[in-house]
Structures are given as C-alpha cells and as structure tokens.
Symmetry: C2
Subunit: 336 residues, 2 copies
C-alpha cells in the first residue's frame, strides 16, 4: 500500500461504514467525543497480538470480535455502557499474509461492524500501519456512566461476598483444545463440547448487560482476563483485603465439568487460565440479594464463590469441598 | 515476565509515576476522564512500530518522545490542548531485546514522564503485552477545547490562504541521513546540520502552543505527518477544494536549504517525505493577520505557502519560482 492516499482508501473501503457521527466519517486526524452532561467517561485500551492473544489462523470475524469485546468487558466491569472505540490496526507487511486479502478484510470489517451495532459502540477513529511483525490490534474503548459511579478494582471490603458472572475456565480449556495435537490434550469431550470451549476462547461474551448492576451494587469490580486466581489476588492486594474462595462453588459450564471429570488436574487450568472475560466483583452481604435480582433481570448468571476478609498473608485462599487449601502452580496467566 | 502479577509490577515500577489522578494510580482496568463542562473531548490514536516509524536502535528517550508527540501534534492541529494519554506497549518476546533491560526502560519511562509534565498530559492507563514482532507503541491521546471549536480537515474554503508552521522536510532528510551509508546519501552538510535533521526525524516538536490560534482562526487544519504534498491533497479532497502552492515559499531550515542547494533533487524528499509534524491549515484572507499575530505570540513561525481554490482536476498544484508546475514522483509517504 505505497501509493498516494492508500491509507485513506483502505479506511474508507473497510471501516467508514462502522463509524458513528463522532467519528467524523473517519476523514479527520481525530474524533470528537464528549460524554453527555452528568456522565463520566471511562476509557480502556487492550492490545491483541497474533500468536499471543489469538491464533493467526483464527477466523477473521473471531479476531475482530475478540479485539473489541475484551475492551467492552473492561467497561462492563467498571459499570460503564459502551459509547465508542478507536482501532489501531497493524497489518503484516508480508504480501502473503491473509490479512491483506479482501476476503479476510471483508470478514473482519463485517464482524466488527455487527458488534459495533450490537453493543451500540461505533468506531470513532483509528490508525492503520504496517508491521514486519504479526497482526496487532489495539482497541481503545470509551464508556459512560453517571458521574461518580465507576466501580473500582480497589473497592473490595472485608465482609463482602465475592461473585463471578457466567462460567469460569472455558476459554483456558478452549485454548488447550486448540493447542493440543489430535493425540494429546483434553480427553473425554464430545465434539460439541470442544467446539463450545474453543468458541469461548475465540469470542468472549462481554457482560455489558451487567454494567448497571455492577455500578449500583459492587464495592470492588474487575473483569477476569488473566485467570480467576491471579485477578482475584490483584483485586485483594489493591483493596488491602484477602479472599477465601470455595472451589466447589466456582461455576463451570457442562463442557468444563466434563473435562474436569475426565482429568481432575485441569482444575489448575480452569482457575488460573486466562481469557474468561467474566465479571468478578464483591458485594456487601446486605446488598447481595439486590445484585442477584438485577443480574437475573439482565439475564446473566452470577454466583457467590466466597468472601472477602481482612488483609492476610495470602491475597486469596482456595478451599476444596473438604475445606482443605488448594495451591495452584501459577497464580495467573500473564500476557506479558 | 511469566510470574504472578508481573505486568502489575512492571507497570508500577516503570509507569505509575507518570500517572495523573485520572489514571487511578494505574491500578484499575480503566481510567476515568471527563472533560470539564463546556469542553469537547478530542481523541486520537497513533501506532509506532520499530523498523517502520523509528529505528529499533534509536535512543529509548527519542522513541518515548516520538510516540507521545505524534499524537500531541494531531491534537494541536485540531486546536485541542493535551489532557492525558493511554499507552499500549508491546514488548519483543526476544530475551535479548534491549527493550527488556532496566537501562532502556528507565530511559524510556523517564523521557515519557518529562514529556507528560512538559505538555501537561499525564498517563491515564494502558496495556502491556508481549509480541514475537518488533516493539510496537500505540498511544491514544485526549485533548480538550471549548465546545464546537475543533478545527476540521474538511474545512478548507476557496479563497483561504494556506499556512504551515515551522519548517518542512527536515525529518524526511534526517531519515535519509540515517538510512545512508557513509559513502552515499545527502552530501555537503556539516555534522551539526546532519544532527539537526536526524533530531527532527527522531523527536517531533508538537505545535501545541498553536492550538489556540488554530481553533480560533483556521478553516481547515491537520498535521503534516505523511508529507506536505500528500497531506495537502488529502485536505483539499475532503474539503472539496484544490490548492496552489508556491514552492519558493515553503519554509526550510538552514540545514534543509544547504542539503537542497547541494542536491536540488532533494526537493522531492522535502515536499513529499513524512514525519514533519507541523501544522497545515487554511485561513480566510481577512483573518490571516490575526492568525499570524497569534502564532507570533505563541512563538512559532507560520508561513503562507499558497492559496485554496475551487475544486479542480488536481487536488494540489505546486509551482516553482518561475511559475511552472512541478510534479513529484510520489504524492505522499504512507506508513501502510
């Protein structure tokens, strides 16, 4: 793409249709975005690198969805409603890269556009560059919420109940399915279960419909992206508290349950693996019923998995069904 | 960096000191940023890739400054005052990469911190990931300006005068100096001139002090990042106008003048090369004196290089001192 204004042509061909009014038709160097009066703006950025955060041969539509949704998950965990995003798109220079084909770009752009519509989160602007490295997508997402209502990672209080949304461990198991050769890896799963886990790895489901419940009820909140154990420990550390989790209460999908039954050592993967993109939050016991009711109305399962305690030697303790402490080999998955 | 919470440790060690209050100490998944009442928010993102936008062995401090400043240049060209930024930092996985050393990170972080202070633009948050590719930095910058005052790329009007700030072509010549072997490249320059041009390539000077003058006086405005000729053509195209530029009026530094004198073919590099990060804007002739006075007060030279006309077959025509049209081999530099 070395000819005059190739970047502009590229943008208008593949991305202009995704832009809302604030994106100025993607024909300017910047976008104009101002939260409505009485609203705070919440901003977050997440970068996804092929070979690190997704597989280069994952479907283009899945890559598009993951890039946007991991950011929408951050917004939801802060209690913010999606309002728009910027996309930085670093395309491999390699002329053979599928990313440079119309087929790939059409699938990527179309899936991103569907999500922009689905989550009411238009494209505001971005940057397109080439890289000698792998496809790298950096999304900056904007959310809004009533002034002063953002849920903080630092807000967990002793006595709070610990909740998670959805189910835990699916994506980490899905990654193992993708990494395993035909003869190794997770056994005892039906095809439909393997597909389910892979889908959960490839396409997170941001819990944006829980945003209102989170900002109204949660003391501490974050999304689980680097594994439940590690992320919980982070939240407790910055909140000056500790947590005690009952492993038997950690919600599992039927696919994850089947995998765990066939191989109990997968508990480690489930609890410390990354890419859940579920909401982890702490709620005072007096308000837990309200939170559960709000989540029920939103149509997302939330599960009480333990309690917050005063700061202790360990940020988070995990107990098995017999009340014995279970230690994990690694506390969390790090994308660094 | 695979151990527990290594990303958090990394961030608190190298970046927490750069954060303003809105960054929440970089201990949350998102930042809270709300423009003051009566202000619009302007957002922009630029991604820089080692080997594409800078040299991997450029000084760490220069890389930090360039990453932030190219975005501040976008803000200035929209008439916005810097307000904060997000940094996405993709670090090479290669254990031998200098980017992974304390020396490199200290220099990078310290220079970025100096610029954050200098431009009153604190770090609000970010993301740190690893990449099998080159160092990749993506900065999202936030600016504010009085409601409705953003200068648009689309606003140029027939009859306007075309202005540029500073001098044109230095960075593109500096890039040639860096690319040339000892025996080739730009000749006839003193060391101090070569160093000046290289410095202009490595460390753009965002014209943030012109932001007020731009939003008050400019009809059309953008920053020159992909070369004067190409960027001017882009502005005219989206404004539905054309421009006529007198090459003799294009402002050159003494180093660029010396290079051009030694090799007149460098005019092509000067006018079509990228990385100027100067402001290109169009001002109605009645308001040109006001703009010049405001720029004078701000301490930045601005030069009238031509006029805007009705849309024509060509978006931009360049005339030499004899009034003959000069065609360039390529219209603009594209980072894609």
């Amino acid at each position: 793409m070395s000819e005059a204004s190739s970047e502009d042509t590229f943008i208008s061909r593949w991305f202009a249709a995704l832009a809302g009014p604030a994106g100025l038709g993607l024909r300017d160097d910047a976008a104009l975005f101002t939260p409505p009066p009485g609203q705070d703006l919440v901003v977050t950025v997440d970068t996804l690198v092929a070979g690190v955060h997704f597989f280069a041969n994952d479907p283009a539509a899945s890559i598009a969805r993951k890039a946007l949704r991991v950011n929408l998950s951050d917004l939801a965990a802060k209690g913010a409603e999606p309002a728009g995003f910027l996309l930085s798109f670093a395309i491999p220079q390699d002329a053979q890269s599928p990313v440079r084909t119309d087929v790939w770009l059409a699938a990527f752009s179309s899936a991103l556009g569907e999500d922009a519509l689905k989550y009411a989160c238009p494209l505001l602007g971005g940057d397109t560059v080439s890289t000698p490295g792998p496809l790298t997508l950096s999304v900056t997402a904007f959310g809004t919420l009533p002034k002063g209502s953002m849920a903080r990672r630092t807000g967990a209080k002793p006595g709070d109940l610990v909740f998670v949304s959805g189910t835990i461990g699916d994506a980490a198991l899905g990654l193992q399915v993708l990494q395993a050769s035909a003869s190794a890896g997770i056994t005892g799963l039906r095809d439909v279960e393997r597909d389910y886990l892979v889908q959960r790895y490839r396409e997170p489901l941001p819990r944006h419909v829980l945003a209102g419940a989170v900002r109204m009820f949660a003391n501490g909140a974050m999304d689980v992206s680097d594994g439940l154990a590690g992320d919980l420990a982070k939240m407790m550390r910055v909140s000056g508290a500790s947590a005690q989790i009952n492993l038997a209460q950690v919600p599992l999908s039927s696919a994850a349950s089947a995998a765990l039954q066939a191989d109990p050592s997968l508990l480690d993967t489930i609890v410390t693996g990354g890419d859940d993109y579920e909401i982890l939050c702490t709620i005072s016991s007096a308000r837990a019923a309200g939170f559960k009711a709000a989540a029920h109305v939103a149509g997302v399962a939330v599960t009480n998995i333990g309690i917050v305690d005063e700061a202790a030697g360990q940020d988070a303790v995990f107990l098995d069904a017999q009340g014995r402490e279970k230690k994990f080999q690694r506390a969390s998955y790090s994308h660094v």
